[in-house]
């Protein structure tokens, strides 16, 4: 079957500047943390082989610049993404508030085939710091309201929950990728709008 081919999972990390995107990626891939990371300019990625449900897959994790204006080039990088990781800093409420626009912007630019069911994962980072300002409850509520996005609280510095979070990311990305392959690797065109109708109605009532 086609799904037995070697699988590449493309994961995009988004979030405000300085929430720890580069650190999370490096902690997960290289098991390292440094205080000397520079602000990311443009985009870069790391790859890591992981086993998901007894299958070896390659994760390609994309790290991007956090300042808003640089996102206009995002479309080149977001294309073909299988999962989007939204990161905020648990000590900085603004970075949490901006998750909405990061999510929206991703959906606009990446135009995934099935936006309602595109897998996101939310990471509340820097939980090693004392001055926490966004409660778990608040973060969880937001995630639930967005079609039950999985939520993890992490510390890239101390490696807390990073592996766990990325395992879920890989798993959900793989599910997305597999679904794409089964549907022939192109968007579901709107010849037959029925399947989505109910979903849309639910959304409108929110």
């Amino acid at each position: 079957m086609a799904t037995r081919k070697k699988v590449l999972l493309k994961v995009i990390i988004l979030g405000d500047s300085s929430v720890g995107k580069t650190s999370l990626m490096n902690q997960y891939v290289n098991k390292r943390f440094s205080n000397q990371y520079k602000a990311t300019i443009g985009a870069d990625f790391l790859t890591k082989e992981v086993v998901v449900d007894d299958r070896v897959v390659t994760m390609q994790i994309w790290d991007t610049a956090g300042q808003e204006r640089f996102q206009s080039l995002g479309v080149a990088f977001y294309r073909g993404a299988d999962c989007c990781v939204l990161v905020f800093d648990t000590t900085a409420p603004n970075t949490f508030k901006n998750l909405d626009s990061w999510r929206d912007e991703f959906l606009i630019q990446a135009s995934p085939r099935n936006p309602e069911h595109f897998p996101f994962v939310v990471l509340g980072n820097k939980i090693d710091l004392e001055n926490r300002a966004v409660s778990s409850k608040r973060a969880q509520q937001w995630c639930q309201s967005k079609n039950d996005i999985p939520y993890f609280e992490t510390s890239a510095k101390e490696g807390i929950n990073v592996d766990l979070a990325f395992q879920t990311i890989a798993k959900n990305a793989l599910a997305q990728e597999t679904e794409d392959m089964e549907t022939g690797g192109f968007p579901n065109i709107t010849l037959n709008p029925e399947p989505n109708t109910r979903q849309n109605q639910n959304d409108c009532s929110c």
Partner: protein
């Protein structure tokens, strides 16, 4: 067989300049598109096959364009690159939404396609790198007649492995075969095996051209003429000698290199000179402290930089903090004024109250970003290392004062990278600030809110690449990479992340001379790509791999070599007899409009066109509202209300 196909279909078309439509079908939906056409996904339109100037194209047009344009082909829709000027971060505001984005045509040159696959109502196109580019869904029919037409025109052949798969013939290749046949070059006519003798011939020709060019060049730049200083390098655009690769690629390589031979003189690598010494510098200083020949100084710095001990002094001139023509007295006076001005501006934010700050989100956002970034700017250098390092505070103070100096630019990521080496070297807060201002004068467009400056830079780099390295350009184009996004970091912060701290000091002072042209930093980019071309092409890198490869070059490159190659490419370009206007403009020469057939608009023209269109629309709106007003007035006059 093959050549007869060319004869038949091109027979009467040679004189024909107009398009010749050979197929169209309605109700075709785009279900997979390149990133440039993301807006067109799931749109319904018409698919055409047509011939233009002896080339075949597949073009999909959204229904709305078909009704308006009829058989005409919208020229502005051809260039995928044009999308780059249309991407904005925020969706259009209400006021602009009247100008709702027009759907674009999607035109694909047939030779760019390697194969077509038919699956039920779907037709999938794959490029020559086997990337799945586009899927058309023939909503009310199947792609069968589409395929039949291409077959009738002998533009494709069925794959022997898969009956639903068709391979596109490459007419360029076949044309080439025919022209070689006419030239009676036996090796090519039959060539399945690599045409080695022709390459040898090519080398001879190349070296002949080289000799001619060298003669001219030495005359032209006489002050740089040092016998023996030139080294000849067969740049990576020359022919590779391992000719065992498959037949198709070898032929296209011959074409490309013919183009290069015609277009560019041979590359001459000139060794870098030694840096400006203290002794030389003193010779240029007059008694009262003026610098006598700034142009010559810049020339020396361009060719060799400055001695490290001189650097701080030179930078102040290069960045317009000190003026070349000022005497020592005038200089001290100016420095004093500027210092006062700096501290006045600094006071504006140091005296801001908590409430003021609370009510000033623009300032707060900028400050917040600066605080985040200075903490992670060059912390590996001793100068910025360690907790509570006062130099981090100075970085922050200068950037915050810059926010006060130019609130519109404010602070954008990347600016702390530009400031850090300046503060490191100048080591005085006010002077560093003004030097930073001087640097920003050169690059402020990089930090445009809408990224227009960066898009423009990427587009210029692309234009230069197309002219100076057609082989790599063609490769990038066929591998979905000619958006040049992988050069973004290079251009934004002038290679700050690509070289070591020491090398950046050397590179920037070279670039600040603005010699030999304003856009010389782009030639640094061309030189880097030139030296990576072999790796990129041989490994068949796509966009992702190129980006990774380019990012990973960071601090692994030899700056002196890159500078030499960059200079050599620059001279190749400006000494080309085929220099087109769009390139002339980028290298700072006046356009001469000699090559009127130049098929591309320059960015500026493009911008002007966009502006004209916007003005037109605005005018229509104003006329409309005036009309409404007048109608109302008339109605009032006539007591209709």
């Amino acid at each position: 067989m093959n050549s007869s196909w060319i004869e038949e279909t091109h027979g009467d078309a040679l004189e024909l300049d107009a398009d010749e439509e050979i197929f169209n079908q309605f109700d075709v939906i785009l279900t997979r598109v390149p990133a440039s056409h993301i807006n067109e996904i799931n749109e319904v339109g018409v698919i055409f096959i047509f011939k233009k100037q002896q080339s075949y194209f597949i073009e999909w047009k959204p229904n709305e364009n078909v009704e308006i344009a009829g058989a005409e082909i919208a020229e502005d829709a051809i260039d995928e690159w044009s999308i780059i000027n249309q991407i904005t971060f925020k969706p259009a505001a209400d006021s602009i939404s009247i100008l709702s984005p027009k759907l674009k045509n999607l035109r694909i040159p047939l030779p760019d396609i390697q194969q077509l696959k038919v699956q039920g109502p779907e037709l999938k196109l794959y490029n020559r790198n086997d990337q799945h580019l586009v899927t058309y869904n023939f909503k009310r029919s199947t792609p069968a007649s589409f395929i039949r037409v291409l077959q009738n025109f002998r533009l494709l052949k069925p794959s022997v492995h898969d009956r639903n798969c068709y391979l596109i013939k490459d007419p360029e290749f076949e044309k080439l075969q025919r022209s070689f046949a006419e030239l009676n070059i036996e090796e090519i006519k039959t060539a399945k095996s690599p045409p080695r003798p022709f390459y040898a011939h090519g080398y001879e020709l190349l070296s002949q051209i080289g000799k001619n060019v060298l003669g001219n060049r030495n005359d032209r730049i006489s002050h740089q003429n040092r016998p023996g200083a030139y080294r000849f390098e067969m740049g990576s655009d020359t022919l590779s000698s391992n000719d065992t690769s498959p037949e198709m690629d070898n032929k296209t390589e011959v074409v490309d290199n013919n183009v290069i031979e015609e277009r560019l003189p041979l590359r001459q690598i000139k060794k870098r000179d030694s840096p400006l010494s203290l002794k030389q510098w003193r010779e240029f200083k007059t008694e009262d402290g003026r610098v006598s020949d700034p142009e010559r100084i810049k020339e020396i710095i361009f060719r060799g930089g400055g001695e490290p001990s001189l650097r701080a002094e030179l930078w102040k001139y290069l960045l317009n903090y000190d003026m070349w023509e000022h005497s020592k007295i005038e200089r001290d006076e100016r420095r004093k004024d500027l210092e006062e001005e700096y501290y006045r501006m600094k006071l504006q934010w140091t005296t801001m109250s908590k409430n003021q700050e609370k009510n000033h989100s623009g300032y707060r956002d900028r400050k917040c970003q600066i605080e985040k970034d200075v903490k992670r700017t060059d912390r590996n250098l001793d100068f910025y290392n360690g907790d509570d390092n006062p130099n981090i505070e100075r970085l922050q103070a200068i950037l915050l004062t810059y926010v006060m100096y130019n609130f519109d630019i404010g602070y954008v990521q990347g600016m702390s990278d530009l400031l850090s080496p300046i503060l490191y070297l100048i080591d005085d807060e006010a002077a560093s600030f003004w030097c930073f201002v001087g640097f920003m004068e050169k690059v402020f467009r990089n930090f445009d809110e809408d990224q227009a400056g960066m898009k423009n830079q990427l587009s210029k780099l692309r234009t230069l690449m197309e002219f100076a390295n057609p082989k790599l350009f063609k490769y990038l184009k066929t591998h979905d990479s000619d958006n040049m996004y992988f050069c973004f970091r290079w251009l934004l912060v002038w290679f700050k992340r690509e070289f070591s701290h020491d090398d950046i000091l050397k590179l920037w002072e070279v670039l600040w001379t603005s010699m030999p042209c304003m856009n010389f930093h782009m030639f640094i980019g061309l030189a880097i790509l030139d030296s990576e071309m072999k790796t990129i092409i041989e490994n068949e890198y796509g966009f992702t791999e190129i980006l990774k490869h380019v990012n990973d070059l960071s601090e692994k490159m030899n700056l002196q070599h890159i500078l030499e190659v960059a200079e050599a490419i620059y001279y190749q370009v400006i000494n080309s007899s085929k220099l087109v206007d769009r390139v002339r403009i980028i290298v700072g020469l006046d356009p001469i409009n000699t090559y009127g057939d130049d098929p591309y608009n320059s960015d500026d023209e493009e911008e002007a066109q966009i502006k004209r269109e916007q003005e037109m629309k605005l005018k229509v709106e104003i006329d409309h509202s005036r009309f409404v007003e007048e109608t109302c007035d008339n109605a009032l006059d006539q007591n209709y209300f």
